[in-house]
């Protein structure tokens, strides 16, 4: 990277990218990595929500976008704020992945020395897995067909997953068993026989209901593993709990979209209800309220919602960021006390109004000077371009300095 500036590079290092996996033993993990990211901020999903068209984004990202235009950023279909639903399981999966990502990445990084050997080993494992699976399923031709496609070690679990509903008695069981003796027994419509056959069906002596509870454990285990380490709860309980939001959230209602026809007084009342600062113009107030509604509603989608006070803090940060676009002279010097800040705010406005003509004259002069210079020296064109942009700012800066 051609960058020499320290600030940017520091930031660059903590920015992760799906391509990090391309040099690991499992380059396919980049697919998982990228699918756990929000397509708007390109970061890992924070409090993911599902749109009515089935796409998932960070709650705050999609809310900010939807309040502008009601469409899905991916498929451009119409989507409304009221249709957003939180996805708590995905939230915990993403959290697990982003928390364990660096360790995972380390452990699957290819050692440069054993590079080729490791790959060979991995291939061998893959092949032997394939063979095993084929052996297991060779008794039933149909199911082996399903499993030989795209075989990978992870799919071995799935072997037990293919269940089908018996068309006659409606009980779920492995396909192979339905195709075997079960249907015949069902057709005889002898309830006792049926019971026997369903019991035979279950593997290793466990009942069907047990099978289901095991399966849900498997999927949830991963997402809650870091929680179980902290809690001494049994796995069963914690996996369910990892998807429970604090009770407080349930009692809180989502805020409705801002009604722009509201009178300024009522808007102010509404904002006071949440302790939102009410200074500035009507447009600024509306923007602030909109952003707060977005923050507030997104907070309700989060697994660990924060206090309203923290939301107000974020609101303030957001506003200072937005205000950064404005000319710099509105921000007072770092070491100024409160009085000078107030005085400066009032005075700079007056000063600007008084000296408007003077300013524009100065700018004209400067422009003509710049043109003369440009004609003289045509060497460093890039610098001149930038100076041109900053010109206005510099002049007003000087004027406020005089003030102080």
């Amino acid at each position: 990277m051609a960058l020499s500036n320290g600030i940017v590079i520091d930031n660059l290092e903590d920015i992760s990218d799906p391509s990090d996996w391309s040099t690991s033993k499992f380059p396919n993990l980049s697919q998982l990595d990228s699918s756990l990211r929000c397509q708007i901020c390109k970061d890992f999903l924070k409090a993911p929500v599902l749109t009515s068209c089935g796409h998932t984004f960070c709650s705050i990202c999609i809310r900010r976008f939807i309040s502008d235009s009601n469409k899905c950023p991916i498929c451009l279909e119409e989507t409304y704020e009221s249709g957003l639903r939180k996805v708590l399981l995905l939230d915990s999966i993403t959290k697990w992945f982003s928390n364990n990502r660096s360790e995972l990445l380390k452990s699957v990084k290819i050692d440069q020395v054993n590079d080729s050997q490791d790959e060979d080993d991995a291939n061998c494992e893959l092949i032997s897995n394939n063979i095993q699976i084929l052996d297991n399923d060779s008794k039933s031709a149909d199911s082996s067909k399903i499993f030989t496609i795209n075989e990978s070690p992870n799919n071995t679990e799935k072997k037990d997953d293919v269940l089908a509903e018996c068309p006659i008695c409606g009980v779920f069981m492995p396909i192979t068993d339905i195709q075997g003796t079960h249907i015949e027994n069902c057709l005889k419509s002898n309830p006792e026989d049926m019971k026997k056959s369903t019991q035979k069906v279950t593997r290793n002596g466990s009942t069907i209901s047990q099978f289901f509870s095991e399966r849900t454990n498997k999927t949830l285990q991963k997402s809650s593993s870091h929680i179980t380490q902290q809690n001494s709860l049994t796995q069963n309980e914690s996996s369910a709990q990892s998807q429970l939001q604090p009770k407080l959230v349930k009692t809180k209602q989502r805020l409705a979209n801002l009604d722009t026809s509201l009178s300024t007084i009522k808007l102010r009342e509404k904002m006071n209800l949440f302790n939102i600062p009410t200074q500035g113009t009507r447009i600024q107030m509306e923007q602030r309220m909109k952003e707060f509604i977005n923050l507030y509603n997104a907070n309700l989608d989060s697994m660990n919602p924060v206090n309203d006070r923290i939301l107000l803090d974020r609101l303030q940060k957001w506003e200072t960021l937005i205000n950064n676009i404005k000319p710099k002279h509105t921000t007072p010097p770092i070491n100024a006390d409160e009085q000078t800040i107030k005085r400066q705010k009032i005075e700079s406005k007056e000063w600007n109004n008084k000296n408007k003509d003077h300013f524009s004259d100065l700018i004209k002069q400067a422009r003509s000077n710049m043109k003369k210079q440009k004609n003289k020296v045509k060497t460093d064109s890039d610098n001149i371009e930038r100076d041109d942009d900053k010109e206005h700012e510099q002049f007003s800066d000087n004027d406020t300095e005089l003030l102080l």
């Binding site: 990277m1 051609a2 960058l3 020499s4 500036n5 600030i7 940017v8 930031n11 660059l12 920015i15 990218d17 391509s19 397509q39 708007i40 901020c41 390109k42 970061d43 990202c61 900010r64 976008f65 502008d68 235009s69 469409k71 950023p73 991916i74 451009l76 940060k317 960021l321 937005i322 950064n324 676009i325 440009k374 045509k378 064109s381 890039d382 001149i384 371009e385 930038r386």
Partner: protein
């Protein structure tokens, strides 16, 4: 903060560019909101513009990616990157590109069509596609649009080649 993080991600990703995009980088390390880009559409063999190098100026609004980036062709000879070992063309005769300002008429760069799921890279790829798919029905360059309506291929090709080779 979101726009900055997102731009840093795109900068991180900009080492991985398609062949037609030679360069995509912020103009200055301290300012992520103005980017520079050089394109060279040589790979699309039937393109009129395949021999040209073009520079794009990208201005990024503060609430990117909610708002689209503002992209235009750089046509000011004084501002062009001269340190490259090829010459950058500053005249782009194209139906949907303003000849005098370099403004691009492309729907996905308009606020009501833009989607935040797109990146700077995909926006530039869209511009590369626009180069080969001129739309004479919404022209910024009426002369070129007329040639396209008449489907005068020889005239179009010679005009474009004239400007590409004479810069």
């Amino acid at each position: 903060m979101t726009s900055q993080r997102r731009l840093l991600k795109e900068l991180h990703d900009s080492s991985n560019l398609p062949e037609s995009i030679l360069y995509l980088h912020p103009i200055d390390e301290s300012n992520l909101y103005i980017w520079n880009c050089i394109i060279h559409p040589e790979n699309s063999s039937n393109s009129y513009y395949k021999n040209g190098y073009f520079q794009l100026k990208i201005k990024i609004p503060q609430n990117y990616p909610i708002d689209p980036p503002i992209i235009s062709f750089l046509i000011d000879k004084n501002k062009i990157d001269k340190n490259k070992n090829f010459k950058i063309c500053t005249n782009i005769p194209h139906c949907n590109i303003d000849f005098k300002t370099g403004e691009i008429c492309l729907d996905i760069l308009k606020k009501n069509i833009w989607s935040p799921a797109w990146t700077l890279k995909s926006a530039i790829q869209a511009i590369l596609i626009l180069l080969d798919n001129q739309e004479p029905d919404s022209p910024l360059n009426v002369d070129m649009a007329n040639l396209f309506r008449l489907n005068d291929k020889k005239a179009i090709e010679s005009i474009i080649n004239f400007y590409i080779n004479n810069t």
